[in-house]
């Protein structure tokens, strides 16, 4: 029963990792861009939620109403103002510019909020739990987190395959020149994709901030978790990112049980094993 509990907790944490991964996977799918600042943007969303909850005195989950549109707006502006200039055949500019952005966000947050670790208080849901029989209980927060992750991924899947915007995303992803020929404005499509990606980042950031302590330096590790979930799940597959996130979460939970120092390491090892035996990921959709 102890192991069932550990694996269950791992699965639920995996929902959060899937949300880190979904935003990353989305922009890679649409514009072949890997945003190295992704993790730092998650942390930025967490700090934004902190400011909103402290000034308005509202519940962190209610702060989503502010943080999600704000992050989407930041994403749109970032893509139009900066990242669109880096896109082209050369891999170097987008990588270096997003890497620079990562350093800027990290050090900017450090200047504004110091290196102290912070946390959002959500009025008890972070400690509440639901009993599922003897010795097996799930926390209310991880359950909300997982449900939100499934909802976000289902939403993205629906948006990609059932809406005009999703059609524009897929068209641009398949052939940029052709998409332009049929009247799509690539720059605008990219900006909308980044806005959507950062909207997901906002949800992930707020949930992260309720779940654990955060400080300006934790961004890169979140980028890596998201990236590992994307690669393990298989490039281009939204439900694959959920599977990847769950595998990562379970691997970390098992690692932590063996030795606390092995928690993160076990996740990395699971990733390297998948890369070694099945480099295309478990549920690949596209080659790339």
């Amino acid at each position: 029963m102890e192991w069932a509990n550990i694996i269950l907790q791992g699965v639920l944490v995996g929902g959060l990792y899937a949300m880190f991964a979904a935003g990353l996977s989305l922009i890679f799918g649409v514009m072949r861009l890997v945003n190295i600042a992704h993790g730092d943007l998650i942390v930025l969303a967490a700090y934004l939620a902190l400011v909103v909850t402290e000034t308005l005195g509202i519940n962190p989950l209610a702060s989503l109403a502010f943080v999600v549109p704000a992050m989407a707006l930041i994403g749109y502006a970032l893509q139009r103002g900066l990242l669109n200039q880096t896109l082209g055949d050369d891999l170097l500019p987008p990588l270096l510019v997003t890497f620079g952005l990562s350093v800027i966000i990290q050090n900017g947050l450090l200047e504004l909020f110091t290196a102290d670790s912070r946390r959002l208080q959500a009025g008890g849901i972070e400690v509440d739990s639901i009993q599922l029989g003897t010795g097996l209980a799930v926390g209310t927060l991880p359950l909300i987190q997982f449900a939100l992750a499934v909802a976000v991924i289902a939403g993205l899947q629906w948006l990609f395959y059932r809406t005009a915007l999703g059609r524009a995303f897929r068209a641009t992803s398949d052939d940029q020149a052709m998409a332009q020929l049929v009247g799509l404005d690539n720059r605008r499509v990219f900006a909308l994709a980044m806005a959507l990606s950062l909207a997901v980042v906002a949800i992930a950031g707020v949930l992260l901030a309720i779940r654990t302590n955060f400080d300006p330096a934790i961004g890169p590790a979140r980028l890596i978790f998201g990236f590992e979930a994307v690669i393990m799940g298989g490039l281009g597959s939204m439900w694959g990112t959920l599977a990847g996130g769950v595998i990562l979460g379970v691997a970390q939970a098992i690692g932590a049980q063996i030795d606390p120092g092995w928690q993160v390491l076990a996740g990395h090892i699971a990733f390297l094993v998948v890369l070694a035996v099945r480099p295309q990921g478990l549920f690949p959709k596209v080659q790339g």
């Binding site: 620079g100 952005l101 350093v103 890169p220 990236f227 890369l275 480099p279």
Partner: protein
């Protein structure tokens, strides 16, 4: 057959080499004209020139944009401590040993992360660095997560007096930077260099002309790991203390190195040298700003990447046609030679 020979040198590269030769003599004599602070600063500059030149070879020429070279800096550092403390190797011998271990480790690592393409390769290198860091914190004989200092006995075995040790480390740093730059120039002048330059300019065209792109990239990756691990060992021989957080620091060994190369001029041998000089000039004046300094460097690097992607040296080289190293290839066809058949 037309008789021809390939000329590498130009007038500016001859001047450049002459300047470097004079500079080398002056710098090698630094213990006689500089104070302790000067020696420390210069040694640090050499290490950054070496790290940035290696990263430039990797990213600027082979197109392998790594944000995880701290993996090899840290590996080199830990090899130095492991070899001297656990195996009783002399510190000076431990530095090349660290390089060899770096190269050996790079082979299986490359086997894994070369499966990731383009952008994802970059994050893959970061994962590897994180794995190395977490593994290093598990090694309790080397201090685990909190790190360890080099025992006094090993330090004094290098040279009995403190002054001689400082001179020795200074000369080692100078030797390593000369070695790294010399090796890069020789590599670029060889047929691998031609292949690398072709890959830099257009990977598909290079492949269609018969360049074995994958093999060339692997060679560069392993050579870079060798050099980076040696520099890492030397840096921590100077610091005398190692911990997972400092040895595998992404800001110190990757962010600074990337900014230096981008600002100086990526894809040119001179770039990292110019970039390091700019970096240290800025640091000497803005050091008090702390994290704001890193933030400003990030802004400058982004601006350079967008507005002048070839960096400072790229601008100078395009404008004036200068090159400091004899790397150009110019065909010199002898007039008296018999004409070849068309």
């Amino acid at each position: 057959m037309t008789a021809f020979q390939v000329e590498h040198a130009t007038r500016s590269s001859r001047i450049g080499l002459a300047v470097f030769a004079v500079l080398l003599v002056v710098l090698a004599a630094a213990p006689w004209w500089g104070g302790r602070q000067d020696l420390r600063l210069l040694a640090e500059i050499y290490c950054f020139v070496a790290l940035a030149s290696l990263w430039n070879l990797l990213a600027g020429y082979a197109g392998l944009v790594s944000v995880g070279q701290q993996a090899y800096v840290g590996l080199g550092a830990y090899m130095l401590f492991a070899a001297t403390m656990l195996m009783g190797v002399h510190p000076l011998l431990a530095i090349p040993l660290a390089g060899v271990v770096g190269a050996i480790v790079a082979l299986p690592v490359a086997g894994l992360i070369f499966r990731l393409r383009g952008h994802y390769f970059a994050i893959g290198t970061w994962v590897v660095a994180e794995v190395f860091r977490l593994l290093a914190s598990q090694v309790s004989v080397l201090g685990g997560g909190s790190g360890i200092s080099l025992p006094v006995g090993i330090v004094t075995a290098m040279a009995p007096s403190r002054q001689m040790r400082e001179f020795l480390i200074y000369w080692l740093a100078l030797a390593i930077v000369v070695l790294v730059l010399g090796a890069i120039v020789l590599l670029l002048r060889s047929r691998y260099g031609l292949a690398l330059t072709a890959i830099r300019d257009n990977e598909i065209a290079a492949r269609s002309n018969g360049v074995d792109v994958a093999r060339t990239k692997l060679i560069v990756y392993v050579l870079t790991a060798f050099g980076t691990a040696m520099v890492g060992a030397l840096i921590f021989l100077q610091k005398l203390r190692v911990s997972p957080a400092t040895a595998f620091d992404v800001n110190d060994w990757t962010a600074y190195v990337i900014f230096i190369t981008v600002i100086g001029g990526i894809g040119r041998v001179e770039g990292p040298i110019i970039g390091t000089i700019v970096f240290f000039l800025l640091r000497q004046t803005l050091a008090d700003l702390g994290s704001l300094y890193l933030l400003m460097l990030g802004v400058v690097a982004i601006a350079v990447m967008l507005k002048a992607p070839k960096g400072i040296w790229g601008y100078v080289a395009d404008r004036f046609g200068w090159q400091l190293f004899p790397l150009e290839r110019r065909l010199n066809i002898k007039a008296e030679a018999p004409r070849g058949t068309a």
